[in-house]
């Protein structure tokens, strides 16, 4: 247990507080700048902005989650950290599971905070904001799991960073459909389905990611 908290603390120090390239700040700034640019591009049409704003927040959140992918797994493989953990009996599955948690903590909650000013910029009603926040709470863990899994699979490949972005986008479509879809139906059903997709991704991630890291050794 002490061992796992040590690992988690290292992950958080690197992802949340930005020992490596800006940490959580860069994706959030990216997210906010999309929310800021969208009204400029569309023009001051308040009903249109309010109707489409929730979807824009979702698309921006998805793209912001892709930004840190290339530093999620690959640096630790290159440093030989995974090998040293394996020698100490720490399985790749545990490392990946903790990394999903750390990755989510470094962009999920900050994104939910940033969604508040973003919704103001887009003129969303408080009811729409509530559904967006619930949807993000249900959907971002799935995005984190998907991101870490894909990062583990593409680690060590040439152009892995670009490839992982391309791989995440189609796989994240269900999250986007249910998460953004819950806005138009206005119900909790969409949020629940987003949560279900997230749970499936969370269950798969440690095993798929761990197997990918091990396969990369040969």
């Amino acid at each position: 247990m002490k061992l796992l908290t040590g690992l988690l603390r290292r992950d958080l120090a690197q992802m949340l507080f930005g020992a490596r390239r800006g940490g959580a700040v860069l994706p959030i700034l990216f997210f906010l700048s999309v929310a800021m640019l969208y009204p400029f591009a569309i023009g001051p049409d308040a009903p249109l902005l309010a109707r489409t704003g929730g979807g824009v927040i979702w698309v921006a959140a998805l793209l912001a989650a892709i930004l840190p992918l290339d530093r999620l797994v690959e640096p630790d493989i290159e440093l030989g950290m995974f090998d040293q953990w394996a020698l100490r009996g720490i399985s790749e599955e545990w490392v990946i599971a903790l990394r999903v948690l750390a990755h989510w903590l470094s962009f999920g909650p900050p994104l939910m905070l940033a969604a508040v000013p973003a919704s103001a910029l887009l003129g969303l009603s408080s009811e729409a904001l509530r559904i967006v926040e619930l949807g993000l709470l249900a959907g971002t863990p799935g995005l984190a799991a998907l991101g870490v899994t894909v990062a583990a699979i593409t680690a060590g490949l040439r152009g892995g960073a670009a490839l992982s972005g391309l791989l995440v986008i189609p796989l994240a479509v269900p999250l986007l459909i249910f998460g953004a879809g819950s806005l138009s139906t206005g119900g909790e059903g969409g949020v629940a389905l987003t949560g279900a997709v997230s749970l499936v991704l969370l269950a798969i991630a440690p095993f798929a990611g761990g197997a990918a890291v091990r396969a990369g050794r040969d």
Binding site: L79, G80, L87, R88
Partner: protein, 200 residues
């Protein structure tokens, strides 16, 4: 010294290694008991590093099997220390993992002449300093089996003597050491395996 309750051993029988469609070596066996050390010799690309990774259990051999008693400590070309952290903190992370956080770190740092560098980020260290830092990590781990892949690369003559002394000390304490190096390694009772004899 840290051999634990059971005496450390590493046994390998009939190992073969294939990389891509090329067989690197075949029919390689070795048996090392407490206090024994072996050096794998041979030209680049002959399979020394692959053999080390097979012995560590990080790579599956193409044929044969390996059995180990005791934890394995590995030093290879990657130091496994976070480049952006000061050396002291980077080593502290591994000491936390190895459950040695309360053990005084100074002696092993002083031994490796690293005590003046604890505040320097790992990425600013030279090749030789990084190698010595990796050896400090190995000392902190307290593993009875040492697998050293080119431990002398980038070290100056003073540091080479130092490493030879560390290995001799480890063997005296009942440890097992496998060294892969093309450089001569001075150690009493060191067995040498010429990898070329097993080349396929």
């Amino acid at each position: 010294m840290q051999a634990g309750t059971q005496a450390a051993r590493i046994d390998a029988k009939g190992l073969a290694c294939r990389r891509g469609d090329r067989l690197l070596f075949a029919g390689l066996s070795l048996a090392l008991g407490p206090g024994e050390a072996v050096q794998l010799m041979g030209a680049n690309g002959i399979g020394k590093s692959s053999l080390i990774r097979i012995l560590a259990g990080l790579m599956r051999p193409y044929a044969g099997d390996v059995s180990r008693i005791g934890q394995v400590g590995l030093v290879d070309e990657r130091p496994a220390l976070d480049p952006q952290l000061p050396l002291g903190r980077a080593l502290q992370f591994w000491r936390g993992i190895d459950g040695a956080a309360d053990v005084e770190q100074r002696p092993s740092l002083a031994l490796l002449e690293l005590d003046g560098l604890t505040d320097v980020p790992v990425r600013y260290l030279s090749t030789g300093q990084r190698k010595r830092a990796a050896l400090a990590r190995l000392l902190g781990q307290g593993a009875p089996i040492w697998l050293l892949d080119e431990p002398l690369n980038g070290l100056d003559t003073g540091a080479i003597t130092l490493v030879e002394g560390l290995v001799a000390n480890h063997c005296r304490g009942g440890g097992v050491v496998v060294i892969a190096s093309h450089q001569p390694f001075a150690l009493a009772g060191l067995t040498r395996i010429a990898m070329a004899d097993y080349a396929a």
